[in-house]
Amino acid sequence: MREPALIRMLPDGRRMHLHDGPIDLILEANGGPHAVSAAYEAAARRFVSILDELCDELPLLRQPARITSECARGVVARRMFAAVEPYCKDCFITPMAAVAGSVAEEILEAMTAVADLDRAYVNNGGDIAVHLGDRQSYKIGMVERPEHPSLFGHLEITSVDPVRGIATSGWRGRSFSLGIADAVTVLADCAAAADAAATVIANAVNLPDHSGVTRVPAREISPDSDLGERLVTRGVEPLSQLEIGTAIDSGVRSATLLRERGLIHSAALCLQKCVRVLPSFSTKSERNGREGFSGPSAPEFHAELELSGRTDPHA
């Protein structure tokens, strides 16, 4: 039987928690008190129908994406199609690869449409849509495994950076991955784009036919998975430094290509304690030393990532 959507403030009184079926969002807005409450109300209003809208076209959204994105009816579904379209010629991808980021983006847009906010974020299980007003910034911490929340890096994005979406994907996350990355975190223009790109790059971090990687057809675990009979990663034995390097190299090549195509701004790849970061390509950010990833510290977003407790590589 249908459980009603959960809409509540977290005990800290600042952040809002929205939950419906597999969707679990933590969001926060900063600004004047009226603006913040108007934004929260708008978020809740928009949220209650999102899952139904998506489920209305679920069979379509589980099909491999083609160039004909107009066939999707829902706004969120169209965001998903748009986010995966750049990849659909080169590899297997379904709109579901961008579902989490697209939902986050949709809610954030509902909030910023009604209120003038200093800054806001919507975190959908690690896929985060960000709004930054003038001279605002966010610090974001990254964890490699949700159940062991130790930071492998942090980053800061400011209002002058083009980044408004962050997403993480990996085989340890809640959803399936074709690759072996523990976590790939991507910065992009928007959350849906980051979500799709993180999925693609995490799939590329791989050692095909390696005996230490346990793979299972997706439908053996989840009969209605959009990945069908494709083999998804269920376990990775400890790898040699050489193997780790080979797998990460493959991911970095994929990420570099995406960056050259303007699909992402940066990416951090993590496999068995080895972290590789794409140097930021934005000259402005390089000059200011702001955008892009750096070593561990204690950033503000740590709690959010820990709280959501999961990455979402391919919902």
Binding site: M1, R2, E3, P4, P11, D20, G21, P22, D24, L51, D52, C55, L58, P59, E147, R174, S175, R219, E220, I221, S222, P223, D224, R310, A315
Partner: protein, 492 residues
């Protein structure tokens, strides 16, 4: 969509994604899983924390005072609840968690399991005098019968919902809607019910009921007759007669014993209905949702004409309901017809006091269920000994840490106030049946004596290591701490 699934794949209907879930796996949300072919909610396992948090005093003051050991704060104590623990069904195997801990120098064991209850239901106490429907009539949710109106109690209407006949004895959709209604009520959600030949109500545990769209604010102070008794002195001298309109017993001051004792002058007032004893009338109107639980909106409708033999012009009459929510003040004209006037200041206080003395009207929800064979077998190899131990108060039964009332007689049939339990403590299986947490706490040596699964006893510290799926919540302030050792013993 795939066409062929292994036989024990289940389809989850908790959200519109409608995941197909294979045995041993979870759905897209990670909150529902297929356990042994049954759809089961796998929310985090809830542990109760006795320590204080967020500045709320959690341990009742007196209890603290009695055994205060001089330290600022007692050590943190944790009780493992059955919420999210899993179940033994359908196999006869030890309960998912059998936890030992030392409490105040005594070794205690808590057997923790989620029970699947097809024999279960809820008893609703709805604080209202409004007539909700004739006794024994069906109560429906979404048009399906889910229970019936049962014996009314003082100031409250009672509904009995659920039970095995609605859950599994009727049509498939009757069972599904019954299960859904019970689950929502037990988890504190609002439910809309209609009663055959009666009212529509919206009810949620611990919240005021809404009857035919109208929110019930207060319980009546007493029946109409009792109200006369309580307030006669305050009315004496300020008004010539008072009628307290009540569907149960309407009271009349000038005829009532209390009025007679004060020497209130006879007014000859005549009331429709059946006179029980002087000043007390049954059935002054039909039951309804108007004044005092009757169907009237104009109180004069229950009065017969005043007679010149007793009544007099300018006679002052107050009519009021048992909650003080409705009232009207009249004076008789020269033809002895009542004319409504503004309530004089001197009477406002008494009407206000009736209202003040009415407690807030609430809906309360008690879950009632019986612990069956497989559940008891999960506790001991000899289930009847568990029943015996519970009856002798050697074993304490709690539901999510809330104390349960054990019905006397055979079996372990219990009732628990759902508002005392942590939020979303209940789940369901599509059988349909409810999943409720149940914990049995007893001394370790008593557990051994009743044939407990001693090989499966784990220490609290060991259980606490499994942090990943656990969530600590704070114990309800009014619940006795479930681990407090008993004074009794079985060595007799």
């Amino acid at each position: 969509m795939p066409d062929v699934f292994p036989p024990d794949t289940v389809r989850c209907d908790a959200c519109p994604v409608l995941c197909y879930i294979k045995r041993g796996h979870a759905g897209a949300c990670d909150r529902y899983a297929n356990v042994e072919g049954q759809l089961v909610r796998v929310d985090p396992h809830i542990l109760l924390d006795r320590a204080k948090s967020q500045g709320t005093p959690l341990v009742p003051f007196l209890e603290r005072e009695g055994d205060w050991d001089g330290k600022i704060m007692k050590g943190r104590e944790t009780f493992v609840t059955a919420i999210g623990a899993g179940t033994t069904y359908p196999d006869y195997k030890p309960a998912p968690f059998i936890v030992s801990s030392e409490v105040e120098g005594v070794d205690m064991v808590t057997v923790v399991t989620e029970g699947i209850f097809s024999y279960c239901g809820v008893k609703l106490k709805i604080d209202t005098d409004r007539h909700l429907g004739p006794e024994r009539n069906l109560v429906r949710a979404q048009g399906e019968p889910v229970g019936h109106v049962t014996t009314a109690e003082y100031g409250s209407q009672m509904l009995s919902l659920g039970g095995v006949h609605h859950l599994t004895g009727g049509s498939k959709s009757e069972g599904r809607v019954t299960c859904e209604t019970l689950l929502e009520l037990c988890n504190g959600k609002e439910v809309e019910l209609t009663i055959d030949e009666g009212a529509g109500v919206r009810v949620a545990a611990g919240k005021p009921p809404v009857v035919n769209g109208q929110r019930e604010e207060r319980m009546r102070v007493g029946c109409g007759s009792a109200t006369i008794g309580m307030f006669a002195k305050q009315w004496f001298g300020k008004v010539d007669d008072v009628v307290v309109v009540d569907d149960h017993i309407t009271g009349v001051l000038s005829e009532h014993q209390a009025g007679k004792l004060l020497g209130v002058r006879e007014t000859g007032i005549a009331i429709h209905g059946r006179r029980s004893t002087p000043g007390r009338y049954f059935q002054v109107a039909e039951p309804g949702t108007g004044w005092g639980g009757t169907n009237i909106s104009d109180p004069l409708a229950i009065l017969k004409p005043f007679k010149p033999k007793f009544a007099w012009p300018h006679l002052r009459l107050l009519m009021v309901s048992t909650t003080g929510e409705q009232f009207a003040y009249y004076e008789l004209d020269e033809a002895l017809r009542p004319v409504e006037k503004e309530l004089p200041e001197a009477l406002k206080e008494s009407v206000g006091r009736i209202r003040e003395n009415c407690e807030p009207a609430l809906t309360t929800v008690l879950f009632m269920g019986g612990a069956g064979g497989s559940l008891r077998a999960g506790v001991t190899e000899n289930p009847v000994k568990l029943t015996d131990s519970v009856k002798r108060k050697l074993t304490r039964v709690t539901c999510g840490g809330a104390s349960a009332y054990i019905w006397p007689g055979g079996g372990i049939t219990f009732m628990v106030d759902v508002t005392r339990m942590p939020e979303n403590a209940f789940g369901y299986v599509p059988t349909p049946a409810l999943v409720a947490p149940i914990e049995f706490t007893l001394k370790k040596n008593d557990y051994a004596l009743l044939g407990g699964h001693m090989d499966y006893v784990r220490t609290l510290g060991d259980v606490l290591k499994e942090k990943e799926r656990q969530r600590q919540v704070v114990s309800h302030v009014q619940n006795p701490w479930p681990l407090k050792p008993f004074t009794g013993s079985s060595e007799s």
